[in-house]
Symmetry: C2
Subunit: 308 residues, 2 copies
Amino acid sequence: MSLLVVGSIALDSLETPFGKKEDVLGGSATYFSTTASFFGPVQLVAVIGEDFPESHLQFLRGRGIDLEGLTREAGRTFRWKGKYGWELNEAQTLDTQLNVFESFSPNLPAAYRETPYVFLGNIHPELQSRVLDQVKAPKLVAADTMNFWIQGSRPALLKTLQRVNLLFINDAEARQLSGEHNVVKAARAILAMGPSRVVIKRGEHGALLFDHDHIFACPAFPLSEVFDPTGAGDTFAGGFMGTLASSGGKVDQQVLRKAMVMGSVMASFTVEKFSLERLREVQRPEIHARFAEFKKLTHFDDLGPLGG
Amino acid sequence: MSLLVVGSIALDSLETPFGKKEDVLGGSATYFSTTASFFGPVQLVAVIGEDFPESHLQFLRGRGIDLEGLTREAGRTFRWKGKYGWELNEAQTLDTQLNVFESFSPNLPAAYRETPYVFLGNIHPELQSRVLDQVKAPKLVAADTMNFWIQGSRPALLKTLQRVNLLFINDAEARQLSGEHNVVKAARAILAMGPSRVVIKRGEHGALLFDHDHIFACPAFPLSEVFDPTGAGDTFAGGFMGTLASSGGKVDQQVLRKAMVMGSVMASFTVEKFSLERLREVQRPEIHARFAEFKKLTHFDDLGPLGG
C-alpha cells in the first residue's frame, strides 16, 4: 500500500571528523522517501528552490518515488549546515537557511488524499495538522518532531499529537516533551497525549517501541565505522513505515517489531557513508542479509534448566 | 560447579534523589556472591574489619556462600560514600576509606584452588594476578577493572589481562583502555590484549558481548523506577558467572548469551531498591519470569516476504 511523506528537502553542508561536504542532498523527506522506496510506492510532498539540481530529481524519480506533490518555488532550496565531533551522536547546527521552506504550505494532490500510511516529517506541527486535514481515512499516521517545536509550539504540537497514531522521537526530546527523566515514564506520558505507540530513538543504543501493553527493545547495529549520522532518524522512520506499508494492511506487534528492526537496518547503512551515498548503492539482498544479522545479534535461547 | 570471587566487601553510604542510607552492605564481592548464590555454590575471598556487623555475615551464610576465604582484620571495614544525580547513571564518589582493604592480600584456602570458575572483582591488577597464581586449572577466568587501574596501573593490568578469558568493562573504561572511541573497535582492541571475550556494559542501554566471531546485544530491562544503581555491574557479573558455572561445564555462544541475559535480569532487580534490599527478597520464580520478559522484550520474527 502506498505511503505519503511530508517533510523537508535540503542541501546539506556537513563536517565530520572524516571530512567535509558542501551542498549535498539531504532533508527529512529525502532520507525517508529514498529508504521507504525499497519497500513500496512512496508519495512525496515537499518544496525545492530554483537551484535544486536536476540530478537529484532524477535520483528520486529513479527510485520510483511519486513527485507529483513536490513543488518548485522561486528562491533557493532549504540549506542546513552541521558539524559532528568524534562522538558522532548529535550535530551542532552551524547555519540554517530556510529559504523556500519558510513559506512551505503542504498541498496534497488529489491522488495522495486516499493514502493509507502517512508520515509527517519534522515540520511545524500546524503544517502537520494541515496535512491531516487533507487525507481522508488514513490507516496509520506517524509523525516526527524536534526540540524546536516542543519548546516553541507546544500547544500546536499537543493538538497534532491527538491525531497521530505513532510518534518517532529521540530520548532527549521524549524527556523534554513529557517532563519525565525516566524513559519508561516519558513513553507512558507521551502515550497519554494521543499516540497509541511511541518509538524512542537512542542513536547508537538502538530504539524502543512502546504501546500500552508492550515494550520492544531493538539494538542499533554495532558498526566499527560511522561516517555521518545525518538522516539516521529519518532513515529509521523510512524503513519502519516502508515495512508497515508493505505488510498487507496488518499493524500488529509482529509487524511493528519487524518494522523496528528494518528501521535499524536501514539507518545502519545510512551512517556508513556521507549523505545518501550508501542508500544510493545498497541492494535488497544486502538489506535482507543485515536483517538476518540482527537476528543473530539479538537471539538467545529460553532459559531451560539451570544446575545448582 | 563452584565459582570463586575475590573482591571488596564494603559499608556504603549512598545518596540518591530518593533518599540517603548510611553504612549499608556493599562491595563488589558482596553483590557478586549474593547474586551468584542463586545459581550454585560460591566461594568468597575478601576482608572485613572488626566493625563488620554479624548480621551481614549471617545473611551471606544464609545464602549458602562459602566464607572460608573471608578474613577479619584489626581495623575498620572498607567504606565508600557516593552520590547519584537524577540521571542515576554514574556515581560521584564523595569519600573512600580503604581501611582493612588497603592491605588486602588474597590468600586462597586449599579447597578454593581447584575451583573451575573464577571472578576477579575490581581490585589492584597485581592482586588479581596473585589470585591466579593460586588457582590450579581454572576453566574460565573473568575479571572486572576500573578507570583507576587503567590509568594508574596499566602495565600490571595488561599483564593480568593476558591471563583472563573474559573481561567485564563499562563503555567509558573500554574507550580508556583501548584508546578507541568506537565501541566495536574498542572491543576488538581489548580482545587483542588477551581475553577471548569481552562484555561491554552500558548501564541503562544494556550490554554487548564480543568474541572474535560474534556480537550479542542484550538490552537493559526498561524500568520505570530506578532507586540505586550501586552494585548493578557486579550483580550483572554475578548473574552472568552464576549462569555459566551452573551450565554443566559448557561455555559456548548459547550459554554465554543466556548468561548475558541473566546478568541483565539480576541487575534489573538490584537497582529497584537500595543496597542489596531487592536481592534479599527476590525469589527464583521472579527471576525466571523476568528472564521470560526479556524474551518478549527482544523477540522479533524472521523478515519473511515483504510486499511492494
